[in-house]
C-alpha cells in the first residue's frame, strides 16, 4: 500500500558543509535521461519541506581515503565522477546531508534538459575507477 513521501528535513544530518575542496564520488556514466530518471525516483520517495525532492546521490570523501571509499562502496562501477564540492557549488547545486554519512543528495531545481545538462557539466568527465576489478577486461 503506498504511503507518504519520506520527509527529509528532520532526517538531515547536523554537520558542517564539506570544504569546497572535498571530492564527491558518483559512480557510473550518467546521461541526461539517466539523471532525470534518478532525480524523479528520489522525488517519488522523498520530500523536503513538504515538496517533492529532486536529487541525485553522491558520496563525499570525508572520513576515509578516496581509495578506501572507492573500494568499499564503488567497486561495481567501471567509471566514476569526482568533482569537488566547490565545483558543484559553482554550478549552483546544493548538497543536502541525507542518509548516512558520507552520503549527500545533490538538489535539483527541476528535471528539465537545461538543469540536467548543467549537472552533467558540474560532474565533469567520468574517469576510470581504480577500484574496479579488471578481471574480465
Amino acid at each position: 500500500m503506498p504511503g507518504d513521501r519520506i520527509e527529509q528535513r528532520p532526517k538531515l544530518r547536523a554537520e558542517r558543509p564539506p570544504a569546497s575542496t572535498t571530492l564527491v564520488i558518483r559512480g557510473g556514466r550518467d546521461t541526461p535521461e539517466k539523471l532525470r530518471s534518478h532525480a524523479l525516483r528520489t522525488a517519488r520517495a522523498w520530500s523536503l519541506d513538504g515538496q517533492p525532492l529532486l536529487g541525485i546521490s553522491v558520496f563525499a570523501v570525508l572520513d576515509e581515503p578516496l581509495a578506501d571509499l572507492l573500494g568499499r562502496r564503488f567497486a561495481t562501477f567501471r567509471t566514476v565522477y569526482l568533482p569537488t564540492v566547490g565545483r558543484l557549488d559553482a554550478y549552483g547545486f546544493e548538497l543536502l546531508p541525507t542518509a548516512q554519512r558520507p552520503h549527500f543528495t545533490v538538489r535539483l531545481r527541476s528535471a528539465d534538459d537545461q538543469e540536467l545538462g548543467r549537472l552533467l557539466e558540474a560532474l565533469g568527465a567520468p574517469g576510470p575507477n581504480p577500484a574496479y576489478p579488471r578481471r574480465y577486461g
Partner: protein, 84 residues
C-alpha cells in the same frame, strides 16, 4: 550490458544505509521478496544484491537492497564452476 532484475541507481542510499529503489521498477515484481538474490542497477552498472525489505513510500513500494561484494561476472564464474 546487463539485463537487471530491478532498475536502481546503485549510488542511492537512505538512512538505513541500503540501496533503495521502487518495486515497480522490477522486471518481475514477484521475484522481489526479502532474502531474494537479484541483479540490480542498469545496463551498464549492475551488482548482485540481496533484498532486505519492502516498505510503502510515496506512490509505491520501496525495496531495500544489500549490495553484495564482487562483480556480476564473479557470480557467473562461480556458478559456471559449480555446475560445470
Amino acid at each position: 550490458m546487463y539485463l537487471v532484475d530491478i532498475t536502481a541507481d546503485l549510488n542511492d542510499e537512505d538512512e538505513t544505509g541500503y540501496v533503495w529503489t521502487f518495486l515497480d521498477e522490477a522486471r518481475d515484481p514477484a521475484r522481489i521478496s526479502p532474502g531474494a538474490l537479484v541483479v540490480a542497477g542498469d545496463e551498464e552498472a549492475a551488482a548482485v544484491c540481496q533484498v532486505v525489505d519492502l516498505r510503502p513510500a510515496g506512490d509505491g513500494t520501496i525495496v531495500h537492497l544489500r549490495l553484495l561484494p564482487g562483480l556480476v561476472d564473479d557470480y557467473r564464474a562461480l556458478v559456471e564452476r559449480a555446475v560445470g
